[in-house]
Amino acid sequence: MAIIDLGQQLLGLLDYIEISKHRLIEEKKEKKKQNYDICFIEGSPLYKDNIEALKDLRQRSKVIVVLGGCADSGCVYALKNYTNKEKAVKKVYPHSHATVFNPVVAGISAIIPIDFILPGCPITAAEFVDFVSQVLAKNSYQRSARPICYECQMKKIPCLLQQGLPCLGPVMQGGCDAVCPSAGMPCQGCRGPLPDAEWSNLEKKLKELIPQKKIDEILEIFGEKENIKKINNPLA
């Protein structure tokens, strides 16, 4: 949806790229299985068919790009992994739960190898445009690894952490233009942690502000709790 909202910019990109398949805006049947230069995949696999589709797309695509939090880590749906999923399915489907496929939630990299990730919930549309532009220009893609704090400081947003709000900005990947802190909302890490995040330092600071249960809740909401703990403890 974020890409459709690009509006004019999207139409402009079409001078350079061909969109072979996008199910929101067209309904053509794929006459024969097509090969793709770049395949952007959003969403996390929820059906057995999805798993087969992912393997099939991997074979037919030169490059697979993970598009957004769901495909990256499962995003908010990963909350299911922190609750009893049997209870959850019985609550939603009291009569028919036995027929509901109820997998553990994960990103698509659990099923197929992937090449690039455009993270976030939602994705930053400008990052999508940047990705396409870089690939068109030089056949490769790079993105600077900077924390959200960098972007808050550039925009002169008064630091929420210093105001006593539990913000994950120091350890999470920038590139979203600090959109949440700009609206007064502390970062909850939807883009995932930086590869060299200093989690233990931030954890110490957060423990001064809120109880451990609340820290866990914030790390769970976008499914990043395991990722952040792995960074400081790779053997976990």
């Binding site: 949806m1 974020a2 309904e27 909350l79 028919s96 809740e217």
Partner: protein, 412 residues
């Protein structure tokens, strides 16, 4: 349309329809299951992710339900801001659906980009209307997809007055564009069809209800949101991840056509004008006209956005987070009900004394009208036998799309 679904129809040789069934092809994310045990403040964040086309209304409805559960009466300024955002959500969604999802059916295209090539002016108009809504949601909610700035009791951050004034300065141009687009839709050819049903929507005196009200219908229904919610029948069938709903044992329709049928007297003048010139007699049970109803609402809600923008600017001194309502966390339950673009959306939550969710339920408009769509298809299918196979397929898809189903919402 939004999300993926398939239709299975079965007509036997005597013309009798044995089966007319819409199946979702989305997996279930079990949103209501995974919200149990979470803090009340997370419901709006999580439920807005149910759908990329209508995240704003989920956020607002979750917040409304939580405020009711916590006995918070929102300040007047915050109500105005939320109505502004909901009006914006409706035109954002309607312009997308009418133009990019439904119109190809009326003009016989299977690809939006080809259609945009043949109708460049109208495409630019649809994009410009959406751009105003996108910019407004960015400025007022902090972000277009998945809002940020509103919270129970008030706002985390209010929009800047200057930015609201710039948005207001664009209003007249956008309203003029919505009128052009609505007239374009009024001139399309709509297939002939009619099946009487119950139209249900929010109703309020002196207002084209959309943010709150009683539930009303063309069959003399008039009850509170809470009462209606607690008496909806949800039907859970095996291998069908979308639970249908019935009202008093029958399918019913929610959405733009329901709202126009029930509340057209309260439309803003510019929208009423389009309705009068379209020469459709009300009550109207031709669900293909849901698309025209959306076109009329496009005009109405653009006017509504102008009105609410003026309101906020006139009362800007109230836009102060220091005036946010301070409240105590307590056990309680609340029903939120707001007219989403596709019809009435319900969120229900029950909280424990620490503000954690112990029960919840979300009933989306698509889940509510799917049974009605299937009933319509059952009646219309025999009429399509005289068409060629390709035309029949097109006609069936056209009716399904006219409803504007949001399959991601319905499945959640």
């Amino acid at each position: 349309m939004e999300g993926h679904a398939s239709f299975v129809g079965d007509i036997i040789s005597t013309g009798h329809v044995q089966q007319a069934c819409v199946q979702t092809e989305e997996g279930s994310r079990l949103i209501e299951g995974i919200l149990i045990g979470r803090h009340y403040s997370e419901a709006k964040t999580v439920t807005s992710r149910i759908c990329g086309v209508c995240p704003v209304v989920h956020y607002l409805t979750a917040m409304q339900a939580m405020e009711r559960a916590l006995n918070i009466t929102p300040r007047e300024i915050d109500l105005i801001i939320r109505k502004l955002l909901e009006a914006s959500q409706i035109i954002y969604s309607h312009a997308l659906h009418m133009f990019f999802l439904s119109l190809p059916d009326f003009l016989n295209f299977d690809d939006d980009l080809k259609m945009a090539g043949k109708y460049p002016q109208e495409t630019q108009i649809a994009i410009a209307i959406r751009q105003w809504a996108i910019d407004l949601q960015q400025i007022v909610a902090g972000r277009t997809i998945h809002p940020l700035s509103m919270e129970e009791g008030g706002m985390k951050k209010y929009p800047a007055k200057k930015e609201l004034q710039v948005l207001l300065s664009r209003a007249d141009d956008v309203i003029a564009k919505t009128i052009i687009l609505a007239n374009f839709f009024a001139k399309l050819e709509y297939p002939k069809f009619s099946r009487e049903t119950e139209f249900i929507a929010l109703g309020k005196k002196n207002e084209y209800a959309f943010y709150d009200g009683n539930l009303i219908s063309n069959k003399k229904l008039n009850i509170s949101e809470e009462k209606f919610y607690h008496h909806i029948e949800e039907i859970d069938r095996p291998y069908n991840l979308v639970k249908r709903t019935h009202w008093q044992g029958n399918p019913y329709f929610v959405g733009a056509l329901a709202r126009i049928n029930l509340n057209h007297q309260q439309l803003h003048a510019e929208a009423k004008n389009i309705l009068n010139h379209a020469k459709i007699k009300l009550p109207n049970f031709n669900t293909f006209y849901n698309v025209l109803a959306q076109a009329i609402e496009l005009v109405h809600f653009a006017c509504e956005m102008k009105k609410q923008l003026k309101n906020i600017i006139a009362n800007y001194k109230e836009c102060d987070i220091k005036k946010n309502i301070k409240f105590k966390i307590k056990a309680g339950q609340g029903v939120g009900a707001i007219e989403a673009p596709r019809g009435t959306l319900f969120h229900y939550y029950e909280l424990d004394k620490n503000g954690y969710i112990i029960d919840c339920n979300i009933i989306t408009p698509t889940a509510q009208f799917l049974a009605n769509l299937e009933a319509d298809l059952k009646v219309h299918l025999p009429d399509t036998l005289k068409l060629s196979k390709a035309e029949r397929e097109r006609r069936i898809k056209q009716l399904i799309r006219a409803y504007d189903p949001c399959i991601s919402c319905a499945t959640h």
